[in-house]
């Protein structure tokens, strides 16, 4: 075989495994979405009917809008906070930095359901921690889960709290990888700390930032446990985001046809988002 094809031999086993584990459910999903589903089994060929039904669903645009708001808020806040934390931890001494790192990482290693339940118990009723603190401060009862805006804010907060540990680890590794010489040279040239951050640190963190942005976007866009446990999508539909919609279609109304169609649409949306991120990063090189 020509030498330029020699590498194929090495990637075939891994590719075959990926095809089986990752891609086969997608192919199955595509096939499944083209049929009318009755009692969990495909019956008549429906073509694109499931997708057409989805497009005619009057509730979908609002769900899409909420998903975009939730994801954009959660990702941008997580990145901003984790970047600040990573730089702060880098400047702390080794021991103190390690301790802060551990504290920041803990929410990430806790099960999402458990972490979300902890938040729920704090806010769910007037005898929770939040209500007690509010009363001690002379404020009215906090009913964050009963207000559409505060429920969404709480959902974003839980997501940020849960995922910030991962972002800090990646960004801290990036920060540690920047040679100290660059900063020292910039200081000699009279650069301010903000200029150093803007002109040196940030550009050199492009790759870890891109990675964090992609992973956070995908994990927020596809999270079902957090809204399901924290708010159940409510009040009303205030926190109903796309993955919850898929869950409800599949497990509450048992409409597997539209659930599969929506899940597939989300999958291709995810792929497009990743491509857009990568493309965007290249343009700025």
């Amino acid at each position: 075989m020509h030498s330029k094809y020699a590498g194929i031999h090495y990637i075939v086993p891994a590719f075959a495994l990926l095809t089986l584990v990752l891609f086969s459910p997608v192919f199955y999903g595509v096939w499944f979405s083209l049929f009318r589903i009755q009692y969990g089994s495909p019956t008549d060929f429906a073509g694109l009917d499931n997708f057409r039904d989805l497009l005619s669903d009057p509730t979908l645009p609002a769900t899409l809008h909420r998903s975009a708001i939730f994801t954009a808020a959660a990702v941008s806040i997580t990145i901003a906070l984790s970047l600040a934390l990573a730089i702060w931890i880098h400047r702390l001494g080794e021991r103190r930095g390690f301790l802060v790192q551990i504290i920041v990482i803990v929410p990430w290693i806790i099960s999402t359901v458990v972490a979300t339940l902890l938040f729920r118990w704090v806010f769910v009723n007037d005898i929770g921690l939040a209500g007690s603190i509010a009363r001690m401060a002379g404020l009215d009862d906090i009913q964050m889960l009963n207000n559409p805006h505060s429920a969404m804010a709480l959902l974003v907060a839980v997501s940020v709290w849960k995922r910030i540990g991962y972002a800090v680890i990646i960004l801290l590794a990036g920060v540690k990888g920047i040679p100290d010489d660059y900063e020292e040279a910039a200081l000699i040239d009279g650069a301010t700390p903000f200029q150093i951050f803007r002109r040196i640190t940030l550009p050199l963190l492009k790759t870890p930032l891109l990675l964090v942005a992609i992973v956070l976007t995908l994990s927020n866009l596809n999270t079902v446990e957090t809204p399901l446990v924290l708010t159940g999508g409510g009040p009303g539909d205030a926190t109903r985001i796309l993955p919850m919609d898929v869950f409800d279609r599949a497990f509450i109304t048992y409409d597997l046809g539209s659930a599969t169609a929506l899940a597939l649409a989300m999958f291709f949306g995810n792929v497009l988002l990743v491509l857009a991120y990568v493309r965007l990063a290249k343009w700025k090189t």
Binding site: Y39, G40, D141, T231, G234
Partner: protein, 434 residues
Amino acid sequence: MRPFVRASLAVAVLSLGISMSLPAFAQKATVRMWTFLNPSGTTPREVTLAKIISDFQAANPDIEIVTETHAFDQLTPKFLAAHGTGKAPDIIWAATDFLGDAIASGSLADLNELFINKWTPEQIADRKGPYWDLTLRNGKQYALFTSRNYISLLYRPDFFKQAGVDPDSIKTWDDFVKAAKALTVTDTSGQVVRYGFAQGYSEHQADPLLMIPMALANGDGIFKLDGRANFAHPAGVAAMKFQTDLIKEHKVSPPQAAAWTVDDVYEQFASGRAAMILGASVRVSTLQSKLGDDKVGMMLWPGSGEVEHAPAVMAGWAVGVWSGSKVKAQAGKFVEYMLGPIGDKMWVEKGGQSPGLLSTLASLGDFIKQPGKDYLRVAAEGSAKFGWLAPIDFSAGGYRQALNKAGQRILVNGEDVKASLERAESDFNRQHKR
């Protein structure tokens, strides 16, 4: 003898021994069962299930029961999906809302062929009732019910006594509001420390709201014959207004309940924050194990002038055998044992469930008369006279969630009651393509 020959002989003897013992191993059938109860758990029903399984396995060493626990609201849809892919468990606990789907999908085997045909007419008569009829279609018995769930009012007798309210005095919905007001307690700062009544409005883990029995009592029903939702009729609107006014107008129910799940409600009840809750008979034993037998009572819903008691939503778990199972006979044998006279008695005595057999009810007369066990009588009486089962001729999945969401919109967004119910109808019909 040469070492090689000796070794060969030993291998031959060993192989023969193994091959002779293989059939014995091969005969042991593994029966997979999906349920929402965890046999390793500590609640009365979980302990009962574990005991039933161990007793059955001791008596049937050739059958092993392997239990897989799933979240209760996902259990039946997951089973239906598994049936579609041909990999379902041998025994399934199907929720009432999805029972029609389970039967229509052909996923459940006819239990007549497995064991009921061998029963005497007396044995069949022992089981007759609405739950039996629900799983009987075209002469085939697709499942037997365990966990008959009568969802009405749970109350704290100690709080009633403190407030000087007699539970038997609650005959009408006006009496109910009066009692709830008397049971609501505020501290000196005006903070409510105990509410008269609580029910959860979350779509996640949704029990059927109070408005359903109230609307059903009027005779209008919540579904049309073709399966479309029928929530926004005058009785439905009045019932929804009544229940949301418990929070908005009468202040006897917590506004936070707009976000509460079923489990939140039980926690509030157990912690003494609510004197009455919308609750299920199957949860009483767990609550009593936490609070004491004398601290949890159950009553039928109030009625109106014409109806003595509004019909409570009855739910429960229908246990069936998967039609594609390769061990149908063994699975059927376990189902028959689990829900037979021995199992039924255990479910009542240890698990705190309502009896499924009339003979159990008769034989446990003294047990049911014990303090704290009166809820079994209430549930049995209610199931026989004042109950409503969701129809299974069409999928009813999501009706509780649709009504809960309507309630949330009224409470949180101030939406008009009728408009909110019409929207719930429209959402439900669209989701089911009706």
